[in-house]
Symmetry: C2
Subunit: 509 residues, 2 copies
């Protein structure tokens, strides 16, 4: 067998693979911290994580990497230098350049300062939330906003400083586009919510009985097996917040949270994280170490979790198959509850204070509030001291309810205290992408309901793989949504989906 | 508060701490591989491990480290340069130098070749053992012996090439010393074994009933708790071979193996690994990153596991306390078995083929056979093709039994296939060190039996900490045994302990 030729591409790939391996080790350290690490080890673990993060950064910005990459693409202009590259390789070069520029634009003194400030802010936030004391957190938030403005300057932008931050999580997304998109979405969602609120509530008390956690976990495994996971390439564990961490496509680790009186929390966490996991598992592992074996964006990643959790996992056909299995696991709790009642329980709509507990209809409204507020904080049109009042006003306006304390208001989420501004919108974008992908999927598989009702899920995985997963970052987010659905991202498919679904559930006019 | 002064020592410490952190991450990758990693991830895991190993080596041999260390100690001659160092710091400098020289003496091309050859040999050994085909493994063993001779040349030695290999695992131990020590030990052990074999066997059938693994695991946790472990700084998991891996003194992870019909295997694995774990947990974490927060040698480490497993864990006082707890866990299996019978079962002596299943009396004989053979292989007085016959002859001579197949003979252990020559003796040394330490411990705590029979174990931990653990590598193995016991390492305390104990158990004359 001839030895594989050493090309400028393979050279770059080799160096980049080292970065990916280092990153994957960082993921293991994080996964272990959330699952099995004895808690006294936390200080040592922070040092291990910091060290690995610095090694990843060093490797991603190494002169040797720059030199190799420069043989593929002009780092200044972005024009391809190596004309022997395939289309996929050109895309990889484009994305490598994107990552490289992002990494080198932030001075390491800045990165360290941000890390240090966030670390203190995180601690302060945790205390402030516990004691419902926004004022104690405010000075930390001020500092983080200043640092994020600085970040935007380092990264550069044309129209709005928030563009630069957004781009870190959702490449090529713009503030103006998002403002319009979310503006429309907000109107449709608040209208839908009001019409639901005018209807009688469904009785869902049966869902808050005692569901022993051992059985919950077993059902979690049943779900993942149904979604095509095997235990030779995946795991399910428990942690205080559910997450999915893929060390590589052959090592996909999901977690769930088991609370006896909240069986739905486990079920939809598992399906949600399973959706993330399928994406990671179906990436092209032959291109591991390149952007072609990497997820496109946080929004697209979230679209995969929401595709499974909501469009499939909260559908009637899905529960036609899985409800009897769930009843078998919990005969005392659910044996006499008809499928329709259960279906209405998993799709119960009710305005509530906490984003992570929100239903499909209200979820994006929670996100839009955060988007509008963080945009205003970054552009300076909102002062930190006025944040709690602004938050509460928006809650009243969009959801019709008002937090009685900041701990269940503007202090509820961890993101800002971690210095992450521009992250929240990806949660809503995930729902929009998912619904738009789904509308196309439905055309290709018009009989999906029959098949899902029989427990078939493989064809959905396959469709997602062929249309999205196998490409990695070959296409940008705007390119991939256009390629798959023929249109730019819009709110209509999501709104249509919700209106149709909840019209039936709540018998709206 | 004044900022801590930057000294040449603190500079070296800082660089060395990075190496320790990288190593600890390597440990986590290994631990995870043996416990929770999905098995399809094995190829990616090998790449992660190889990468981390190369980073550790790079950091330990970095010019910046050499430069910093040179300000403390003359790397050529070993004489201290920085006269402001404390005694502990001088010892740290001495050990850093030792590690540094060892690391730089082996060219990286050699290290890679050895790793590659071992990797292939490991696979070949596993197949050869399965198919009982020594000939298929022989050429790999030849290569590894040649490479180990080469290693001895690189490392340097005065009297015997085996000295250089031994020194890697047991610093300052010499072949000549070991030959004499083991020679004496062999005579005493074979005599004791013969006198036991002349006596009637104890009935131990009750130990091979079905002991459900869930209860076995629970008892494992009871034992570790009794030994002073808490779950905030330690873990117990299962793996195919029990081991202890400490990422740092606050993160000590032990594993056991659960087989329904072998409850003693679990019990003594837990106590054994717990002994290793106590050593790691009681190192001085304030000096983490220096040799002062590191175990002295493999032999000393093994002395700690054997101290707990045999001298404490197989003692009658220990089971006076723990046997009722074990009976509670297994009332059907043990409820009607008197303590004395159980005590005789855990101290049953019987010549058998497999080292890892051997009792206290025969264990060292297994090790001595390996020592004599690998020494002969390295010095060239034994040819690989003659190894099986030589093995079988020694088994007959020392243990009075002969393997019917090489798979339960010279192919049983993994060590040679991993390229590790000079490792085996540390298993026997562990027993000798342990017994010699124990004789001193007994003088300090003449009432230990009463206290242990009440379930007290903390005072033993404390004695080990104050006499051994807290020093890390401040003293060399010969220094520490002298410091603690007043004498050089010898076989007598171990032989005395065995003779006295088994005289009673087997009613010898």
């Amino acid at each position: 067998m001839a030895k594989k030729l050493k090309t400028p591409f393979s050279e770059t790939h080799k160096l980049s693979k080292t970065s990916s391996l280092l990153e994957s080790i960082h993921y293991l350290l994080e996964w272990d911290q959330e699952t099995y690490m004895p808690k006294d080890a936390i200080e040592f673990r922070s040092e291990q994580l910091e060290l690995m993060a610095s090694l990843v950064h060093k490797q991603r910005t190494a002169p040797s990497f720059k030199k190799a990459l420069s043989k593929l693409i002009n780092i200044e202009t972005g024009s391809i230098v190596d004309n022997t590259l395939s289309a996929e390789e050109m895309a990889a070069a484009r994305e490598w350049r994107r990552d490289y520029l992002q990494a080198v634009k932030l001075p390491s003194s800045y990165v360290k300062l941000l890390a240090k400030t966030s670390s203190k802010a995180l601690h302060a936030w945790s205390e402030a939330r516990r004691h419902n004391n926004f004022k104690a957190f405010a000075p930390h938030l001020e500092k983080l906003i200043t640092l994020n403005k600085k970040k935007a300057e380092y990264l550069g932008y044309k129209d709005h400083p928030y563009d630069a931050l957004l781009d870190l999580y959702e490449p090529e997304m713009k503030t103006a586009y998002l403002t319009e998109l979310f503006g429309k979405l907000k109107i449709s969602l608040t209208e839908l919510l009001k019409s639901i609120q005018a209807k009688p509530k469904h009785p869902i008390g049966f869902i808050h009985q005692d569901y022993p956690v051992g059985h919950q976990m077993r059902f979690g495994h049943i779900l993942l097996k149904g979604m095509g996971f095997s235990d030779t390439m995946s795991r399910l564990d428990t942690s205080s917040h559910p997450f999915c961490s893929a060390l590589n496509p052959k090592d996909v680790r999901m977690t769930t949270r088991l609370i006896p009186t909240l069986p739905l929390s486990n079920i939809f966490s598992v399906i949600h994280e399973g959706g993330h996991g399928i994406y990671e598992a179906q990436l092209n592992d032959k291109m591991y170490g390149t952007p072609l074996c990497s997820a496109i964006s946080l929004g697209i990643h979230e679209s995969q979790s929401r595709f499974w959790e909501t469009l499939i996992g909260r559908s009637l056909p899905f529960w036609k198959h899985y409800y009897p299995l769930l009843q078998k696991e919990f005969p005392d709790q659910l044996g006499s509850v008809p499928l329709d009642n259960f279906y209405r329980a998993v799709n119960n709509v009710e305005a509530s204070m906490i984003r992570v507990e929100a239903d499909e209809v209200t979820y994006c409204l929670h996100v839009i509030i955060r988007f509008e507020l963080e945009k205003a904080l970054i552009e300076g049109s909102l002062k930190v001291k006025d944040l709690p009042a602004a938050w509460n006003n928006k809650m009243k306006e969009y959801l019709g309810i008002c937090p009685s304390a900041d701990s269940e208001g503007c202090l509820q989420d961890i993101h800002w205290s971690m210095g992450a501004f521009g992250y929240f919108p990806t949660y809503a974008l995930g729902n929009l992408y998912a619904a738009q992908f789904f509308a196309t999927f439905e055309k290709a598989h018009s009989n999906w309901q029959e098949r899902v009702a029989k427990g078939e899920l493989g064809f959905i995985k396959e469709w997602l793989k062929e249309n999205l997963h196998k490409y990695g970052r070959q296409y940008t987010p705007p390119e991939i949504i256009k390629k798959i659905t023929g249109r730019a991202l819009e709110a209509t498919p999501y709104v249509n989906y919700l209106q149709q679904k909840y019209k039936e559930i709540y018998q709206l006019n």
